[in-house]
Amino acid sequence: MVVKFLDIAIGGLLTGGIYALIAVGFGLQYGVARVLNIAHGEFIMLGAYCTWTLFTSAGVTPLVSMLFCAPFFFAVGFVIHRIFYTPLRTASESAAAFEGNSMLASFGLLFVVQNLALIIWGSPVKGYTYLAFPIHVLGAVFSTNRIVTLIASIILGSAFYVFLVSTRTGKAIRAAAQDPVAAELMGVRINRVLALCFGFGVMMAALGGLLLSMTSVMLSPVMGMQYTLIAIIVVVLGGLGNIKGSFIGGFILGLVGYVVSSLQPGLSMVAYYLIFLFLLLVRPTGLLTK
C-alpha cells in the first residue's frame, strides 16, 4: 500500500517537475511581459527536437545539450520579443489591446514554428532513449532518466528563484511585474526587462522540452499545444503572476495527471481541462494565492 502510494507520489512529481518549469516560463511571459504566448508549447517542442538532433546526429547527451540550449533559446526569445512584442507594445492603444494583439501575434508564431518544425523534421514521430535503465527508489521502480529529469527541474527551478530574489536583474523583473510604469521611473529599462523575461520564458520552455525528450516521450511537431494548455492551467492554478505558485502548481497538476493516467490512460487532458473549468468558475485567482 505504501509502495503504491509512493509510486504514485513520485511518478506524479516526475511529471510535475517538467510542468513546473514550463509553467514558470509561461508565467513570466504573461505575468510580467503581459504576453499570452500560446506558442509556448512550440518552444517546448523545439527544445525537444533540438535535443533529439544533437543526441542522434552528434551524440551529445541531453544534460550537456542543456549548456547549449539554454543560452540559445534565451537569445531566441529575447530577439523575438524585440522584433515583435516591443513594437506591438508601443503601437497598441491600451493594455487590453496589447494583450489581444500579442496573443494573436503568438498565434501566428505558433503557426510559423510548428510548420518550421514540420519542414525540418517531418511529421513521423521520433524519439530516443537515454539513461533508460531502471533505478529503485524506496521500493518502487523508476526509469533513471525520469529521476534525473525531476532533479534537474528542481535545480533549475530553484536556481531561477534565487536569481529572481537576489540579483539586480531579478529584482527589476519583479518590479516590472508589479508596476511597469513605476519600475521605469525608478530607472529600470523596461523594454529590456520585458525582453529578458520573454527570453527566460522561452528558455524554460526549451529546457522543459529537453527534459521531456529525455523521458522517452514521442516527439511530433504538433505535440506543443497540449503543453501550452498545461502551462496555462498551472499558471491559473498557481495564480497569475505568482512564480512560486506556478512552480508548486506544476507539481500538483503533474500528480493529478499521473493518477488519472494510471487509471485511464489518455484522459489526463480531459482531467486537466475539467480542473481548468473548475478553477475559472470557482477561483480564478488561483488556489495558491493568499
Binding site: 499570452l36 500560446i38 515583435f84 513594437p87 506591438l88 503601437a91 487590453a96 489591446a97 494583450e99 489581444g100 494583439n101 496573443m103 494573436l104 501575434a105 498565434f107 501566428g108 508564431l109 505558433l110 503557426f111 510559423v112 514554428v113 510548428q114 510548420n115 518550421l116 514540420l118 519542414i119 504538433v222 499545444m225 497540449q226 501550452t228 494548455l229 496555462i232 492551467i233 491559473v236 489518455g266 484522459l267 487532458m269 480531459v270 481541462y273 481548468f276 473549468l277 475559472l280 468558475l281 480564478p284
Partner: protein, 320 residues
C-alpha cells in the same frame, strides 16, 4: 482589435452591395454548368473558408472576444458526418453536425463567457485540444480504430451544400445585425457593464451568438467531410481551422459584413496558388503573413483603406 468604423453606408452604397451579392449568388448557382470540376472544388474550398471567417466574425467581431475554438466546431461537424452520412441524407447530416457544434459552443460559452476575454480565449484554445484528445481516446478505446473511411459524395452536391450554408450565414448575419439582438450584441462589445444595466442578459446573448457561429462551422465541417476519403482526429481538428478564419477576418477588417469575405477569398486563392508551388512551405508563409498583419495592419484591409482615405482628405484640405 475592432475597426474604426468608416462612414455609415449610404442607401445607394447599400443597394450596390446588395445587387453585387445577388449577382454573385446567381453566378455561383450556375457556375458548375460551365467550369471544370477542378474549379468547382476550388470554389467549394473558398466558400468553406468564407463560411468559417464569416461565422467567426458573427461572434468575435461585435464582442471583441477572440475565439480560437473554430477547429473544435468544424471537427465536430466532420465527425457527425463521418458517423452518420452512410445512414442519413447529407442535408440532415449537415444540420445535425451544426446542432452538435451549437450545443457544444453554448455549453462552453455559458460557462466561460462570464469571464474576462483572455480567459475565454485561453479556454477556447484548450477546447480544440480537449475535443481532439477526447475523440482520439474514444476511437482508440471504444471503437478500436483511430481513422475512419468516408463514403464520399460527388463534388456537385458538396458544392451546392456549401453555397447553401454560405447563403444561410449571410442571411443570419444580416438578420442579427438588424435585430434588437444585434443591437444588444453591439452594446456588449462597447461596454458590457452599461449593456447589463440597460437590461441585457449579457452572458446569454454572448453564449447564443457563440453557439450560432459554431452551428455554421459545424455545418461546414459536415459538408467538407464528404470530400475526404479518410479522416482522423488530427486532421479533423487541425489547428489550421482555428487559425485561418482568424487571419482572414482580421486581414479583411472586422467592420462590415463583407470584410471577412474579402479576407477569406484572398487567402483561399493564395492557399491554392501556394500549395502547387510550395507544398511544404505555404502554411509557414501564412504564419508569417499573420505576424505581418498584426504588426502592420492591426485593423485589417479596411483599416488600411480608411487610413489612406483619411490621408487623402487631409492632403486636399491642407491644399485649400
Amino acid at each position: 482589435m475592432r475597426n474604426p468604423v468608416s462612414m455609415r453606408k449610404t442607401p445607394s452604397r447599400k443597394r450596390r452591395s446588395f445587387i453585387a451579392l445577388i449577382v454573385l449568388l446567381a453566378l455561383l448557382a450556375t457556375v458548375p454548368g460551365y467550369v471544370s470540376s477542378y474549379t468547382v472544388i476550388l470554389i467549394t474550398n473558398i466558400l468553406m473558408y468564407v463560411v468559417l471567417a464569416l461565422s467567426w466574425s458573427i461572434f468575435s467581431g461585435p464582442t471583441g472576444y477572440i475565439s480560437l475554438a473554430s477547429a473544435a466546431f468544424f471537427g465536430t461537424g466532420v465527425y457527425a458526418s463521418a458517423l452518420l452520412s452512410s445512414d442519413l441524407p447529407l442535408p440532415v447530416v449537415i444540420v445535425i453536425g451544426g446542432i452538435g457544434s451549437f450545443v457544444l459552443a453554448f455549453f462552453v460559452g455559458a460557462l466561460t463567457l462570464r469571464l474576462k476575454g483572455m480567459y475565454f480565449t485561453m479556454f477556447t484554445f484548450g477546447l480544440v485540444e480537449l475535443v481532439r484528445n477526447s475523440v482520439h481516446w474514444w476511437e482508440v478505446n471504444m471503437t478500436g480504430t483511430v481513422g475512419r473511411l468516408i463514403i464520399s459524395a460527388d463534388n456537385m452536391t458538396i458544392f451546392y451544400c456549401m453555397v447553401g450554408i454560405f447563403v444561410a450565414v449571410l442571411v443570419v448575419s444580416y438578420l442579427i445585425k438588424r435585430s434588437r439582438f444585434g443591437l444588444a450584441l453591439e452594446s456588449i462589445g462597447e461596454s458590457e457593464e452599461a449593456a447589463a444595466h440597460s437590461g441585457v442578459n449579457v452572458t446569454m446573448v454572448k453564449s447564443v451568438t457563440f453557439a450560432v457561429s459554431a452551428f455554421f462551422m459545424g455545418a461546414a465541417g459536415a459538408t467538407m467531410c464528404m470530400r475526404w476519403t479518410y479522416i482522423d482526429p488530427t486532421t479533423a481538428f487541425s489547428i489550421q481551422y482555428s487559425f485561418m478564419p482568424v487571419l482572414m477576418a482580421i486581414f479583411g477588417g472586422m467592420g462590415h459584413l463583407y470584410a471577412p469575405i474579402t479576407g477569406a477569398t484572398v487567402f483561399s486563392i493564395l492557399e491554392e496558388l501556394l500549395t502547387t508551388k510550395f507544398p511544404y512551405y505555404y502554411m509557414l508563409i501564412f504564419g508569417l503573413i499573420m505576424l505581418a498583419v498584426i504588426l502592420f495592419m492591426p485593423h485589417g484591409l479596411e483599416g488600411v483603406i480608411e487610413k489612406g482615405r483619411k490621408k487623402a482628405m487631409r492632403r486636399s484640405a491642407v491644399g485649400t
